[in-house]
Symmetry: C2
Subunit: 339 residues, 2 copies
């Protein structure tokens, strides 16, 4: 075990895309744990678009990361020392571990969750983790797809979108993805079983939507926002549900981004646009994980993880989400999995 | 009875505000009625913002009015001749009568509704009509206000907004209006019993919202759109409901109007924005009218009508909705009520 803890702190707030200068590295002594706490060796950091939002100085569902603080993020690690009855050395835990080599479970009342033995760590951070649960509850609780309906998913090759679309397929829907490369579209169509996938970088979205959704769109699971949201709103059916999961096209915007100019489609089509925050569903994760476990076991839900090696690469890794360079759930590997 | 029928037809599609040149007047012979039809002497035309939308060549919940067609609008009239068992001479009927002196009930299967005897015609076209029912079903079915919540209504002095706010008061909510003059605000506050009313033309909406909605906003009943929608979205609470009733600030726009740049507030606050079309609730009007009748009888819902005299003034009357010159439900009087 190291005697130091390398950390990445927020040095200055990013304007637009994240640059290396926004962060600085610091090496501190290993945190000393007190009664009720456990020391955790961080293994995988979960790199999610929402982190970008926390770096801005604006109110959101969690307070912003302050300058000089360790960058907040979820992830998994191994308990290496414990003064808490909740954790045993060797336990694999999930929680807000941050961009650092070690974290403390149970500090300031912030407990972590011990993962069941035998669960692959990468699955725990993807399909059984926040992105998988976001897909599950967002699609089923907000989108409410009904057999025979048409469902469109943007960010279809992403960790959340890819699972959301597969869940809609399981419900018996026609599912059309929107993704950013021919390779991603091919994967979404051929591997995941979507009925069609539009490459928004090379194809004309309105035309392709008309073609691929001849009956209109009943559910739109949107991870992207911007022009794509507007294009799909133009095609929604009566009583459509637009699930606002994210707006990855906008997180790096340096100016106010206009909303969809055609939002009055919601009136004409008696439709709704609704947001949700996955944290609200944490008490129901057990239900979601069980269901998802069944689907993964039957091969009905497939998932992909994209692992970047080294804590020092976390800042550049997050930009991969916004350029679309990642393939599946993006993780940064900080240390080895226990053998 | 006249032997001719003066009509106002759409001559060219308006760009921006309606101008007189968009219409032409034509005098035709009285329509001859066939079996199953009745001739109706039009009395009041209901002048509503939605008419503006029908004049554009764009898909909506009803097809656009075509060039050369009589302008579509709802209203009431008196049956003067009938070859249908559904109508007796002397009946007062409600339906899509159009901008003309006479209309035909039962033509092409388009029946009209016979109003109960004794109901004041102006009430039938306002509080018991489309605007009153829009307020009723929009507020209660989409907004779902709960006792103790804060409700904001834009277009608060309008035919729909004024009733919507009073219904929220009946539910035990704090109700704040937004209107366009001090006189309107005073009426909304002092006569209708809203807790506060913001004059959006002279006051700073964000500051006044903070002041008048210290607990945030749970329901926003929006008739206006644009900047006002954005300002209120900034103040919504978790699980807020934004009822999209209309967007009167935009109907005359000649260019694409950006949507609310802060629509991601819906995600952060797990909130929803939902549109509706009152036509969908026609089967439930009986329920709404009964309930509204009780409230009007008890003095809990007050309403105002603004009558413009003469069919020829219909084109200029509709612009009053967009400049905010009207006071309450706007009607154009085409002929006298039966004595």
């Amino acid at each position: 075990m190291s005697s130091t803890n390398r950390q990445i702190l927020l040095a200055s707030r990013p304007v637009g895309m994240i640059r290396d200068e926004c962060f600085r590295s610091e090496t501190t002594p290993l945190p000393e744990i007190r009664d009720g706490e456990a020391l955790v060796r961080n293994i995988y950091l979960s790199i999610d678009p929402t982190i970008r939002g926390w770096l801005d100085d604006s109110e959101s569902y969690l307070p912003p990361v302050q300058i000089g603080e360790v960058v907040r993020c979820g992830g998994v690690g191994e308990v290496v020392e414990s003064k808490s009855p909740n954790y045993q050395p060797g336990d694999i835990v999930f929680g807000m571990i941050g961009w650092q080599e070690y974290s403390v479970a149970g500090r300031d009342g912030q407990e972590m969750n011990v993962l069941p033995k035998g669960l692959p760590l990468t699955a725990a951070l993807s399909v059984f983790g926040v992105t998988g649960m976001t897909a599950y509850f967002g699609m089923l609780e907000i989108g409410k797809p009904v057999e025979g309906e048409t469902v469109v998913v943007s960010g279809a090759a992403g960790a959340t979108g890819s699972v959301a679309g597969q869940i809609a397929k399981i419900q018996g829907c026609r599912v059309v993805g929107i993704a950013g490369s021919d390779e991603k579209c091919a994967w979404v169509r051929d591997e995941l079983g979507f009925d069609d996938c539009i490459n928004y970088k090379t194809e004309k979205i309105p035309e392709r939507l008309r073609e691929s959704c001849p009956q209109g769109v009943d559910v739109f699971f949107d991870n992207v926002g911007g022009q794509i949201l507007e294009n799909v709103l133009d095609r929604i059916n009566q009583r459509a549900r637009v699930v606002l999961c994210g707006a990855i096209s906008q997180y790096n915007a340096t100016e106010k981004v206009p909303g969809p100019s055609n939002y009055m489609q919601l009136v004409i089509q008696r439709a709704r646009m609704e947001g949700f925050i996955i944290m609200d569903y944490i008490p129901r994760f057990g239900e979601g994980i069980m269901k998802m476990g069944g689907w993964v076991g039957e091969g009905k839900v497939k998932f992909l993880v994209d692992i970047v090696d080294g804590l020092e690469n976390a800042p550049s890794a997050i930009n991969r989400l916004f350029t679309g360079a990642n393939n599946g759930k993006l993780l940064v590997k900080v240390s080895d999995e226990p053998s």
